[in-house]
């Protein structure tokens, strides 16, 4: 105040600049972020909304902790993580998707473009400011996160990694929203398009995966063998019936049995060819960076029983592996061979079941421990982020060659 009192027209020193720079600068990005965050300072209504949101999250947390037993479980943690991702992917794009066309409509964009702020400064600053708000959601969930983590059987590093990936996914979704806002003239359009993009990634990929399964299906022929009851002599039928009832096959002569073969066709989906559709799903990306849980040895490993993420990982892995020899073998049914095994007395009647059980367990373990691949999904996200920011920066550069259709500069 005092300085201005003494000098009625203070001189300012704005450094001269040259050229037509567009790359983001540290000073400019920071300034734009600050301006945007100041503008977004919540009103009373906003604070009430945040209050309700926080209460809902805490309430859910308390509910889950009351309902759950004391043993280790990763479900609450997985719930929070999904919640944070979901909230972030809704809030970030909602804010960014009105940030450019909205400002332009309000007449506050062009005056900033007339300053020394570059297109990159505006783009990155707007991206970061919307993203920080989503970050704030993460911060509000911290109390529950700490509790959920404590009993999840996860290691701290694993949790931090997943959190970093979540923040990155939210950043990308926010950038995509910003790009739509740079392209579309109207806020309604850009907000819908932003959420549509998220929807395509989260739900669309799964739907597409399901609907493309018939396209990658092969027809397999399979031969089952059954005992031909009609052609057995009375003694044979009685002996076999008794054997099935008692479990004692010693009275049956397997070589004398007449067997029927039945061949039929079935389709198997080569999901290994379409698994990439699932792998680009953000929820799957999150799951693919969370720790593996061995369904057989999780207790010795100090883990909780396989939760949602572990189960999803198993399903995703099974899709990635595709149909296997073991699958085909498990499909095949040979009654006569089973009878022969049992009649030879090598093993009890449970033997066939045991073999089946072992294969199944092995398969479960193989799928559960199948190496994680978040790379495809993360790669796509990097592409989306870079592409979206390139679009935004390009559209913010002045002098404008073309305008968003139906808009004025000012």
């Amino acid at each position: 105040m005092t300085t201005t009192e003494t000098s009625p027209n203070p001189t300012v020193t704005a450094p001269a600049r040259k050229g037509n720079p567009w790359l983001p600068t540290l000073h400019g990005t920071f300034l734009v972020t600050r301006i945007e965050l100041l503008r977004r300072r919540p009103s009373t209504k906003g604070w009430i909304f945040y209050g309700i949101l926080l209460a809902a999250i805490l309430g859910l947390g308390i509910l889950v902790s009351v309902l759950s037993t004391a043993e280790k479980t990763s479900t609450p943690l997985e719930l929070v993580l999904v919640l944070v991702l979901g909230a972030g992917m809704l809030i970030g794009p909602s804010l960014s998707a009105t940030s450019i066309n909205g400002d332009s409509g309000e007449g506050v964009l062009a005056p900033l473009q007339m300053t020394h702020l570059t297109a990159g400064d505006l783009a990155v600053g707007k991206l970061l400011s919307s993203w920080f708000v989503a970050f704030a959601v993460l911060v509000t969930t911290t109390p529950f996160l700490v509790y959920a983590y404590a009993r999840s059987g996860w290691h701290l590093g694993e949790l931090l990694l997943v959190l970093v990936v979540i923040l990155f996914l939210v950043l990308t979704a926010t950038a995509v929203g910003l790009a739509w806002s740079a392209i579309a003239a109207r806020a309604v359009a850009s907000v819908s398009l932003a959420h549509l993009t998220t929807g395509v990634l989260v739900i669309g990929t799964l739907v597409l995966f399901a609907f493309t399964a018939p396209l990658v299906s092969d027809t397999m022929t399979e031969t089952d063998r059954y005992v031909a009851w009609d052609e057995l002599s009375d003694e044979q039928s009685t002996a076999l019936e008794d054997a099935y009832n008692t479990g004692d096959f010693s009275a049956v002569d397997p070589d004398a049995l007449v067997c029927d073969e039945e061949t039929y066709e079935y389709g198997i989906a080569h999901t290994e060819r379409t698994a990439w559709m699932v792998l680009i799903n953000p929820l799957v990306v999150i799951e693919e960076v969370s720790p593996l849980v061995n369904p057989l040895t999780f207790e010795e490993d100090g883990r909780a029983a396989p939760g949602i993420f572990a189960n999803v990982h198993q399903m995703v892995s099974s899709a990635r592996i595709g149909p296997t020899e073991a699958d085909a073998q498990m499909m095949e049914y040979d009654e006569c061979a089973d009878i022969a095994t049992m009649a030879s007395g090598d093993d009890e009647s449970a033997d066939g079941g045991n073999a089946y059980q072992d294969t199944w367990e092995q398969q479960q373990e193989e799928q559960a421990m199948y190496p994680r691949t978040p790379w495809l999904g993360l790669g796509l996200q990097v592409l989306l982020l870079v592409g979206a920011m390139a679009i935004v920066t390009h559209r913010l550069r002045v002098p404008y060659r073309t305008l968003r259709t139906g808009t004025r500069v000012a």
Binding site: L112, M114, H116, V398, A410
Partner: protein
């Protein structure tokens, strides 16, 4: 001020030649040529939709011209927009402000956007707010401002970095009479500091007293020398009112001064103010009962009305 000392006396602050720009099929600006001198206020006059705003956007470096050459403070907005932005203060015709931020915050942040250190930007912002009589609103959010107050904030925002060239797009819109007079004085002060000012407006009577040069625009074209001649001619027209109209006309006829008849008196052509003073003295000396004597309305308005171009 520094700008005056550094300014090479001859080069124009803005020089535009043959500038054109179309939006799809609409040819907003077809052929605009204008020069804005340092230390002078130049008016850009034309009917609604004739392309004034579009031309200003191109001068400011926000819109790329399809054709033509533009130099602002010696720099080309296409290739050296940073230099142009440093030199130009732009007051848009659209009023926008950051609702949640206070007036002082707004000016400080815009100043910082020009890389002015925060403390300096704040001091400058305060002095500008005082200048445009918004100091009571310094700490109030801009959403409470009325239209005229926003207009003044917008003017202050255009000046935070001491620009050498000022583009004002319809600055008098929404201002009350007192604010208009103040704006006029302020714009003259700014020009007196050696800055170049380009004002677009359709409140012609106001411009008359404020501007040194006028550029007329119609259907996307600037009307060059013709319009200038018309303004020059209109400037020389004086109207004399006499209690005795016949005595006035007789005196003029006797002295073989060409005149047009007008209600309650006559219209005469007088080169400048010194001649006007002599003419008045002569008339009074000749016993003509003159009760009013002055320029015949707004020269710009006369020219504007004489232009046979339509609004779009």
């Amino acid at each position: 001020m520094t700008i005056l000392e550094e300014a090479p006396p001859i080069t124009a602050a803005i020089q535009a030649t043959g500038v054109a720009r179309a939006f799809g099929s609409v040819q907003a600006v077809q052929d605009a040529t204008l020069t804005v001198e340092r230390g002078k206020v130049t008016a850009l006059i034309g009917p609604n939709g004739c392309g004034k705003t579009t031309l200003m956007l191109m001068l400011a470096g926000l819109l790329r011209p399809d054709a033509g050459e533009i130099r602002v403070a010696g720099a080309d907005p296409r290739t050296d927009s940073a230099a142009v932005r440093a030199a130009i203060g732009w007051m848009p015709d659209q009023l926008g402000s950051w609702d949640n931020l206070s007036c002082l915050q707004t000016l400080t942040l815009v100043g910082q956007s020009y890389r002015i250190p925060a403390a300096q930007a704040r001091a400058k912002g305060l002095s500008l707010l005082r200048k445009v009589h918004l100091e009571e609103f310094a700490d109030r959010p801009t959403r409470v401002l009325s239209r005229g107050q926003k207009q003044r904030l917008s003017l202050a925002r255009a000046l935070v970095h001491d620009p050498a060239v000022l583009l004002l797009d319809e600055p008098a819109n929404g201002l009350d009479p007192r604010s208009r007079v103040e704006l006029r004085q302020y714009v003259r002060e700014i020009a007196a500091e050696g800055r170049a000012v380009l004002v677009s407006s359709h409140v012609l009577a106001e411009l008359d007293e404020m501007v040194d040069d006028a550029v007329f625009m119609s259907k996307g074209r600037t009307l060059g020398d013709d319009a200038a001649r018309m303004v020059a001619h209109a400037r020389t027209r004086y109207r004399v009112w006499s209690l005795d109209v016949d005595a006035l006309r007789r005196a003029l006829t006797d002295a073989s001064v060409p005149f047009e008849e007008a209600e309650g008196g006559a219209m005469v052509s007088i080169a400048d103010e010194a001649h006007a003073q002599q003419a008045l003295a002569w008339l009074v000396g000749a016993g003509v009962p003159v009760h009013r004597f002055g320029p015949a309305g707004s020269a710009l308005e006369q020219t504007y009305m004489a232009m046979e171009e339509d609004r779009r």
